[in-house]
Symmetry: C2
Subunit: 212 residues, 2 copies
Amino acid sequence: MDHKTVSLADQVFEHLETDILSGKYQRGDILTENHLCEILGVSRTPIREALRRLQQEHLIVETGKGSQVLGISEDDLRDIYIIREQLEGLAAKMSAEKASEEDINELKSALELQEFYLAKQNSEQIRLMDNRFHEILYKISGSHVFYNTLLPLHKKVQKYRKVSLQSQSRANESVAEHREILNAIIKHDAAAAEAFTAQHVKNAYKHIAGKD
Amino acid sequence: MDHKTVSLADQVFEHLETDILSGKYQRGDILTENHLCEILGVSRTPIREALRRLQQEHLIVETGKGSQVLGISEDDLRDIYIIREQLEGLAAKMSAEKASEEDINELKSALELQEFYLAKQNSEQIRLMDNRFHEILYKISGSHVFYNTLLPLHKKVQKYRKVSLQSQSRANESVAEHREILNAIIKHDAAAAEAFTAQHVKNAYKHIAGKD
DNA sequence: CTATGTTTTTCTGTATACAATTATACTCAA
DNA sequence: TTGAGTATAATTGTATACAGAAAAACATAG
């Protein structure tokens, strides 16, 4: 389908972003350009461009002698969930009002895959399909601003969600909550979509923070 | 004080960011690297690094044949204010809880300058001091996440605020609202700071959107 | 005049060279 | 051994060269 060649700079960005957000590179680690050149096998130009993007995402800071990894602290995690509690319900409300037949099918497909991998107990795939569900939700809202605000925040909690979704019971609940959200959107019930989504974000944080 | 030399890439980024957010470059405009090299008098390397950062801020998109300026539409404006209405009050609440003597002095200084320029009817300087007030507020909250979320959103409404603050009456109200917020923070009255700030953002949008 | 095929130009993506700065290692005297 | 001073390494910032792709300009046949 999508045979558009991706530039090395884009590949490097995604690679490093994933490694930082997964926790492979940890807070305080120093990434030097030459080191990245060696392990990734490309010249400094695409490396530097990727670093400028990571910098703008606040995943690294320039120290003048290497890029220092910031990563996501538990304080960051708490604040991200505070913000998502405020915004994600609104995005779902907007999505419920606007969702087309096709949008709903996309959500349905993501949810069915979650249920499939839930049955297989494949928590890694559950997480990826869970990501897709949220991303589609942001997209359907029709707002670039909501999309561009929520997507990076959601990406940044991956390391913690990974652990949380290894709990069979939480994975179960999470998928069930998605089902409720989807049903509300199918009915174009904006208020229900908002309420279910806000509650879903709250529940996710409760489990991640170990407070339930 | 701050004689730290700023790289060309940083200068180019700030230059282009300002030009896009001020409306000098408009939605749809195409920026080619060579053209930017000529008008800014630097090589492609720092230009490209600046473009990667603008891309990450969603101010431009790569078309494969030049960078297309996105700018901020009126729909974006509405969504930005919806989000700020949700978040900015929370940031103020956090700031009221945490503000040190020095923090408060910083806010006070920014506010006094607003009042000074208000008397001089210098709307451009009022706007800049207004920006500073909000930025300090985000900073005092102590949350990188709130800071990094709110600051870019606030930057993106400059073009519209510029017009709004040319209204003497709105400039007056705005500065008065800041005064209320500051007083609440001085008293460490978190609930009042939250309420005044949320109302301030609402009022700002009402005026910008011409709905009052 | 128009359509088509070809050449030329433009533009990006990447690698590399070089300068400037800063950290590191090393040498030698006390 | 320690300390100062110096040479050396490492690292970033910037400019530039070159390849490849895409668009634009052009020319030619009908």
